[in-house]
Symmetry: C2
Subunit: 239 residues, 2 copies
């Protein structure tokens, strides 16, 4: 539940573990060539700082060790859309193994510890191992499914549904790492950030969240979120 670098818990389902990138996360050594070790030291960055800018031709793939980050785009007139939140163990995108993701910003939400892998090296390593390659394909399929789900949320679901789904999705992903206890999880998101991710405004997010709390579906406070009525929330989410 903490953001300390050492407390990351890899699980069988997470990208980092599955691509063998856990070196420095108190796990098996990385599958990357020894020569790359110096370049893949754990980086750290404070909340709200940019990890990778939209016009940066980054030669790195980013893997989150601890903390929360987000990937988003900003339009010229100020509209923003967040494409994904990145939780511990997650890679910014499998696509970034092949090309940088132009026009997208990766930002730290909390303090973040992350590793940077040189794209070329990581790609060569992954592509030269049949096992890793199969894993990559699976991660990629999951990522595609997630992208599709986002489109369905934004295109066809109501505000209530979107927010309920976001909460459940984050809860599920955090639970993979044992980061949910007694239905309670860290929840560092500002309402503005929830709004950016769900295609809503912060004002409306505030209303929906309070409505949820009035109905005893969730409780938020002190940067923590507790799911009080999981079934109800789920019913809302999968309508």
């Amino acid at each position: 539940m903490s953001n300390e670098p050492g407390t990351f818990t890899a699980c069988g389902a997470c990208a980092a573990k599955r691509l063998n990138l856990c070196a420095g996360m108190r796990h098996k050594p990385s599958a990357l060539p020894a020569t790359s070790s110096a370049r893949t030291l754990v980086q750290s960055i404070t909340a709200r700082r940019v990890i990778c800018g939209p016009r940066e031709w980054s030669e790195f793939v980013h893997v989150i060790c601890s903390g929360w980050a987000m990937v988003s785009t900003a339009m010229a007139d100020g509209r923003r859309q967040t494409l994904a939140f990145l939780l511990p163990g997650e890679i910014d995108s499998t696509a970034s193994l092949f090309q940088p993701r132009f026009g997208r910003t990766i930002e730290a939400i909390t303090e973040v510890f992350y590793r940077r892998f040189r794209r070329e090296e990581m790609r060569d390593t992954v592509l030269s191992s049949p096992d890793l390659l199969r894993t990559l394909g699976e991660l990629w399929s999951a990522e595609r499914a997630q992208a599709d789900d986002l489109a369905i949320d934004l295109g066809r679901r109501t505000a209530d549904e979107r927010i309920a789904r976001l909460i459940l999705d984050l809860g599920k992903r955090l639970a993979l790492h044992g980061m949910v206890q007694e239905q309670t999880m860290d929840f560092p998101l500002r309402q503005r950030q929830i709004a950016d991710a769900t295609g809503l405004t912060a004002v409306h997010v505030s209303r929906v969240l309070n409505e949820f709390q009035r109905n005893a579906l969730i409780r938020i406070g002190g940067r923590k979120l507790t799911i009080l009525d999981y079934d109800q929330l789920r019913r809302l989410a999968e309508a």
Copy 2:
């Protein structure tokens, strides 16, 4: 501009050409093993029929030879979201090389000629060639960018913007194959289908399209669309 099977024109940018899948499209032989040829005959299907259902554990990757298809999901209560239109030369998803895409339906919009490649064989072929592998990575990156763009459209753009962008996007992709002449292209989409793709209702699509025509941005008729004022449309689209 026609839907006949023989008239497909591969271009350097399309998935089929780049992954060497053009056999049977009057192009170079496929890179697939000879043994697979019998299984990759061109299939044909009439408009509105399902190419691959949402619960089907398809062992195939689909590549469109001619005609238009679409990938969409339906929710229990009837809401639908289209995730992509598939034009000649396009693959259903690079992710489908690894896993079937559950919950998504691929449907023919017009009469469609397409090829099915056995996932396993195609994957092995692609993964065992460094060239094809690099190409695959590029296609995947492009697909990821397109998925992101869809999320931005649905989350943050107005109806006018979404529709203008859809038209320009389709025009651009058709132009790759020389399927746009004098700013005019085949346009077999029903307003309902445009609505499903843009997260709007058919009624609202009708109003926007008529507004566009009243402003002399486009002309639609006889299943053709002409872009009359490209600059204006573009300005609308990239706001």
